[in-house]
């Protein structure tokens, strides 16, 4: 978070050096920066949920067991969902590429369901939560090594406003 003002400042300097009307551009840059800051710092924002609470938990190879670290993140999600009742969540389960397509879809369902059941057990109404799975179809890291696989074996809680659903 602390690097953000520096980036904004550097942007300002560049713009000032290259432009005869620096104030107009500087104002724009600050506005955009303020908006991003507000999202991250606003505890009711989806951005806060994704970045500060944590929208995902990771799993060991071929398991859907929640780790202690995962449960801590999910406890944070429970608190957020309880304070922000206007939001629904779809939990997306994912697998790494080391497995066959159909099985990985089922494994992803095990993972998203494990998260859903945990959130429900801590008091989030089941009606606000749906679970799906993308199997191995949506990796976020593309290397064929454990360092990437570990990030891809995940369940991501994707929130959306109930009024938009």
């Amino acid at each position: 978070m602390t690097i953000l003002p520096k980036i904004a400042l550097m942007g300002l300097i560049v713009i000032t050096a290259g432009c005869t009307n620096p104030d107009r551009f500087a104002a724009g840059a600050n506005d955009a920066n303020d908006a991003a800051q507000a999202g991250v710092n606003d505890p009711t924002s989806p951005l806060f949920f994704n970045q500060t609470i944590g929208d995902r938990v990771l799993f060991a190879v071929d398991t859907s067991t929640l780790t202690d670290e995962g449960k801590a993140i999910l406890d944070g999600q429970v608190g957020w969902l309880q304070s922000n009742a206007d939001y629904l969540a779809i939990i997306e389960g994912h697998a790494d590429e080391q497995g066959t397509r159909e099985y990985n879809i089922s494994l992803g369902f095990r993972r998203s369901n494990a998260v859903r059941e945990y959130l429900v057990s801590k008091g989030v109404p089941a009606t606000r939560l749906r679970a799906t799975s993308y199997g191995k179809e949506r990796p976020i890291q593309v290397c064929s090594q454990e360092s990437c696989y570990a990030s891809n074996r995940r369940a991501v809680t994707v929130i959306s406003l109930a009024s938009l659903s």
């Binding site: 879809i105 089922s106 369902f109 494990a114 799975s133």
Partner: protein
């Protein structure tokens, strides 16, 4: 295995001097074989318009046959006789002298967009014609199909088995990097020609499966954000969602042998089981009820049994149960995991994906689990599909690493003749359709 695979008759290996004692027959057994030499003199163009297409058809017939690995073309440069006329008498000694065991003769007529192809097949060493002459009528645009039909007839007469050249494959065409891959359904001839897209890339689509007659395709779509089964009409390219009870989270579909029902997997919470649904009414029946993952069902050719994968033992293994559900018996007991079983059209073999020690294999075993044989090995081989005659398996191979891409390969059920299917884009999840009428 001996019933299926090829072994040349000993006579064929004896060389050009010896005559056969019986008619030409390539009997398929397990032994490593010398491909059977054949000659295809250029098909006779019966009018001027037919000249180019006659030459193209001749080349494709030769390519189809030699592409099987079971036949080897004797080049035209070795010919003693030209056999430039379809009607002329065959100069058998000239073909024997260059050791061509079979000779294929043809003639082509073009009128407007109509194409007529005639062909005859000769057993050189017996000095006789094999079967009668055949004639196929089609369109000039569809000349490849006419060539495939000639090659199928020749293949079938020599091996005594059905052919597979005039068939199509539905698959997933892929483009883009691994973390933003676009997938579209596509259809192609068995050799990769005439590829056409069936869907756009707006939604993730997986694992298309041909109907028994090739008129429809079942596939899994993520258009809603949840896997659902769609059925697509191949001719109109119209698509509709399959109505089954709680159809959300349904995937891994296959048609029943009569094309009226679908067997598929349904995820309910973290559990996945196998169901059978009626395509017209949407009524469905649950066939498995274990708390484990049951998926990838495939019916036996007579429709009485289902082979599927389950991790009820702790890892993925293959099981067979009655088509109406009930007790299942495990058939895979080797090291590693066994997945994506597919029953062969002949009924006696199961093709599968095996994962062991960090490698993937395509393999086959008998339905009782005996005689397991691995046909391939790579970083990721997956998803076998059988040619209509049960002789060739096509599958997906994905390469390793950040730039990894998928492509289709075919391999003879004996493990020989592994080769890529030439396609412009990445490809996965092939499903081989029937021989076309």
């Amino acid at each position: 295995m001996k019933r299926f695979l090829i072994a040349l008759v000993a006579l064929m290996l004896a060389g050009p001097v010896l005559a056969q004692s019986g008619p030409l027959r390539l009997t398929i057994t397990d032994g490593v074989i010398e491909p059977l030499p054949f000659a295809v003199p250029s098909f006779e163009p019966e009018n001027a318009e037919a000249a180019q297409v006659a030459a193209d058809i001749t080349r494709l017939v030769a390519l189809d046959l030699s592409g099987t690995g079971l036949f080897r073309e004797t080049p035209a440069s070795a010919f003693i006789s030209a056999h430039s006329s379809f009607a002329q008498t065959v100069a058998y000694p000239d073909w024997r002298a260059i050791n061509a065991q079979a000779m294929i003769s043809g003639a082509v007529t073009v009128s407007g967009n109509q194409l007529i192809v005639k062909f005859r097949l000769y057993d050189v060493f017996s000095g006789t014609e094999m079967g009668g002459g055949l004639q196929f009528a089609g369109t000039v645009d569809g000349w490849r199909r006419m060539a495939h039909k000639v090659a199928d007839a020749a293949y079938s007469r020599i091996t005594g088995e059905g052919g597979y050249f005039d068939s199509r494959i539905v698959f997933v065409s892929e483009s883009g990097p691994k973390d933003n891959r676009q997938k579209r359904l596509a259809i192609m001839d068995f050799d990769g020609a005439n590829m056409q897209f069936l869907t756009d890339s707006s939604a993730l689509v997986l694992a298309p499966r041909f109907s028994p007659t090739g008129d429809r395709v079942l596939y899994t779509s993520f258009a809603s954000g949840f896997p659902r089964i769609n059925v697509l009409d191949v001719t109109s390219v119209g698509t509709r969602q399959l109505q089954t009870a709680d159809g959300e989270m349904a995937f891994s579909p296959r048609f029943s042998r009569d094309g009226t029902q679908v067997i598929y997997s349904l995820a309910n919470g973290g559990n996945t089981d196998i169901y059978r649904g009626d395509i017209a009414s949407g009524a469905s029946t649950r066939l498995t009820s274990a708390p484990s993952i049951e998926t990838a069902p495939s019916l036996s050719p007579d429709g009485s049994q289902i082979v599927f994968e389950s991790d009820r033992s702790g890892t993925q293994q293959m099981y067979i149960m009655s088509a109406s559900g009930g007790d299942a018996r495990r058939i895979s007991f080797g090291e590693g995991r066994y997945a994506t079983p597919v029953w062969s059209p002949r009924g006696d073999l199961i093709a599968f994906t095996k994962q062991n020690a960090g490698r993937f294999h395509i393999g086959v075993m008998r339905t009782d689990g005996s005689e397991e044989r691995l046909l391939t090995a790579s970083f990721l081989d997956e998803g076998p599909t059988w040619s209509p005659n049960g002789r060739v398996i096509m599958f997906m191979r994905e390469t390793q690493g950040a730039g990894g891409t998928s492509s289709l390969y075919s391999v003879d059920v004996s493990g020989r003749n592994l080769k890529p299917v030439p396609l412009p884009n990445g490809a996965s999840d092939p499903s081989w359709g029937p021989l076309q009428p």
